[in-house]
């Protein structure tokens, strides 16, 4: 089964948007590879004819009436934002900044 190089670990950390220190990356490389070795056990089983299970209780097509209901007050929603300007949450610039 696959094993992760240091570059793989860095790539996965970037995909996961986790800024990790060199020490964390080192430690994770060893630990993730150890855990992946445990995964290898699954290849003992032939599952070619087995359907996957994504949910265990068979509920289907749960729908409700499309009726408007009251939302949270604006202040309650904005109260947890780290940066706020009036009625808005200040987000980091995603266009036109130095990094784009």
């Amino acid at each position: 089964m696959a094993s992760l190089s240091r570059a793989d670990v860095e790539h996965v950390a970037f995909l996961a948007r986790l800024g990790l220190t060199p020490q964390e990356l080192d430690q994770l490389q060893g630990q993730l590879n150890h855990i992946l070795e445990q995964y290898a056990k699954l290849s003992e089983i032939d599952t070619s004819a087995i359907p996957p299970t994504a949910q265990t209780i068979e509920l289907e097509n749960i729908l409700r009436e499309d009726v408007a209901t009251p939302s949270l007050p604006q202040d309650a929603v904005l109260a947890n934002a780290s940066r706020r300007e009036g009625e808005f949450i200040v987000v980091p610039p995603i266009l036109g900044g130095e990094g784009s």
Binding site: Q38, V77, E98
Partner: protein, 527 residues
């Protein structure tokens, strides 16, 4: 304050409240006093809201007085949880209260609304004493991964209470509250129940609405009760269970009212066992199981047999694959659920002017998440990444089908419930498994497959091994919570006279000391 109040089960307190012999204010006052006094030594609570709890106790007392004035029919109609204190794991939203999920990334986050179960508890008149400690985002089996410090087990303060719902289990074991709410993704209710000598139940997937609960792995997460006996656990489950439109995975399955009337009498309770077929899954006696734990389980099984149940050896052949399957499915779902913590709308936010926004995300998430959460996000991201999705995630979901079929086959053959150990070991010392994730994951070997199959499981105390609690697990088909609780109640009845039943947690008295060592101190000393 009456010290014995805090050892009484909720149903005993409820009778005295209705009779007017006791007030909710007295009960909640005693609870607050004990929880606050113990918190230095146990660290079970992240927040305790004294003023709100006492105000709610007063309004409960007003409802009792009004009902008593109206007559016996009115008092009988009161909810069994009215006026009684309950602990909420700190991933359950309580409007206006901090909700951290044990993580720095949510430190200071204040829930803007109540979770469905919080609403239900309010309607019942239960009083939320505060929010309890937990492994960060419910990832862990020892509570050592909380960003706010570990929790000490009241049976031995150098040992963990299990996890991830370690704070709620400890609060119930220590007598702070008769009722606690936990959540389980792999074993996070039953395993800490076993390690603290309490009753804990993971209901069927879909039994309780998760609206307002911080998500970990959405095809597995479920909410359940802690209590000191099965009657209380059943009453708490009854209060929170049922369909809720805001969680489309909550099932439209009726919640039996018999949960409120489990037999009080031991003879009636034990009578349930006659003619019942119990299966003993041989794969649950795993390698690494402590001999004294196995001995307690075998004794418990013999007692059930002696009281009229038939016990048959059964096999769940794919049990051994549960751990690997779980540690693909759960981290994969977690990596998606935890993508929302971006430091923009809420939570920790680390930004630098002029920097690329992705650098802000990396910094925020790198600083906000702890080691176990990072490990699981990494595992999940890898398992879902291009080229590995089929090899890991789809493969694990196929094995999950086989695990579920094992249970279907056993229950299809007429077995009423399975009886098994909850945890292969008693509570372990701080640090014993922290450096080896795989050793930590083995703590849940006997509970994970049940979650993978979406089934209900109950853990009840069944004695001590080396002076520490052992948990006996009952597992049933979907929606069989009532039957499982009747099995648990029957086991309580046939062991009602056992000496260990009347024991207080062995080191609880040490938690009374105002200068007691904290769990952080103890962990450091053992490192």
């Amino acid at each position: 304050m009456d010290g014995t109040l805090t050892r009484l089960p909720g149903h005993a307190l409820a009778s005295r409240l209705r009779a007017g012999e006791l007030s909710s204010r007295e009960i909640v006052g005693a609870s607050l006093e004990l929880a606050e006094r113990h918190n230095r030594a146990l660290n079970a609570w992240l927040t305790i809201d004294r003023e709100r709890a006492l105000a709610e106790a007063d309004s409960a007392d007003a409802r009792f007085a009004a009902a008593r004035a109206e007559g016996p029919a009115a008092t009988a109609a009161l909810h069994p949880l009215l006026g009684l204190p309950v602990a909420l794991k700190d991933l359950v939203s309580l409007a206006g209260g901090q909700c951290t999920a044990g993580s720095r990334i949510l430190e200071g986050y204040v829930a803007p609304y109540d979770a469905h179960i919080t609403e239900r508890l309010r309607e019942a008149g239960a009083i939320v004493l505060g929010k309890t400690n937990m492994d960060e985002f419910a990832m862990g089996s020892s509570n050592e991964w909380s960003a706010f410090g570990p929790v000490s087990n009241p049976w031995d303060l150098d040992r963990v209470p299990g996890g991830s719902s370690g704070g709620s289990a400890t609060a119930v074991a220590a007598g702070h509250v008769p009722f606690g709410i936990g959540t389980a993704t792999g074993g996070s209710i039953r395993q800490p129940a076993a390690l603290t000598g309490t009753v804990g139940m993971k209901p069927t997937y879909g039994r309780v609405s998760r609206y307002g609960i911080v998500a970990f792995a959405s095809s597995l997460d479920q909410i359940g009760p802690f209590a000191r006996d099965t009657r209380d656990a059943a009453a708490l489950l009854h209060a929170v269970a049922g369909r809720d439109e805001r969680d489309s995975t909550s099932a439209p399955v009726p919640v039996p009212d018999e949960l409120l009337t489990l037999p009080a009498g031991d003879d009636e309770a034990a009578g349930w066992l006659r003619g019942k077929r119990l299966g003993l899954p041989r794969e649950y006696f795993v390698a690494g199981m402590e001999p004294e734990v196995e001995a307690r389980i075998r004794e418990a099984v013999a007692a059930l047999e002696g009281a009229g149940a038939t016990v048959e050896d059964v096999s769940l052949p794919h049990t051994d694959y549960g751990l690997a399957t779980y540690y693909i499915v759960a981290p994969a779902e977690a990596s998606a659920n935890l993508a929302r913590y971006d430091g923009v709308r809420y939570g920790l936010s680390i930004r630098e002017a002029g920097r690329d926004f992705i650098a802000d995300y990396l910094a925020t998430r790198g600083a906000g998440f702890g080691p176990e959460v990072k490990r699981r996000i990494m595992l999940g991201t890898y398992a879902l990444s291009a080229g590995y999705y089929d090899a890991f995630y789809v493969k694990a979901q196929k094995v999950r089908t086989l695990i579920k079929r094992d249970f279907d086959d056993v229950f299809g053959s007429g077995i009423d419930a399975l009886v098994a150990p909850t945890s292969p070991t008693v509570a372990f010392r701080f640090g014993a498994r922290i450096a080896d994730p795989v050793a930590m994951y083995l703590s849940d070997a006997c509970t994970l497959p049940v979650n993978m199959a979406g089934l209900p499981g109950l853990s009840v105390p069944c004695g001590l091994a080396e002076g520490l609690p052992v948990g006996l697990q009952f597992i049933g088909p979907a929606w069989s919570e009532l039957a499982l609780l009747r099995f648990g109640r029957a086991y309580e009845a046939i062991t009602a006279g056992a000496g260990w039943r009347s024991l207080e947690p062995a080191q609880l008295h040490l938690a009374d000391d105002p200068s007691a060592r904290t769990p952080m101190d103890r962990r450091a000393a053992l490192a």
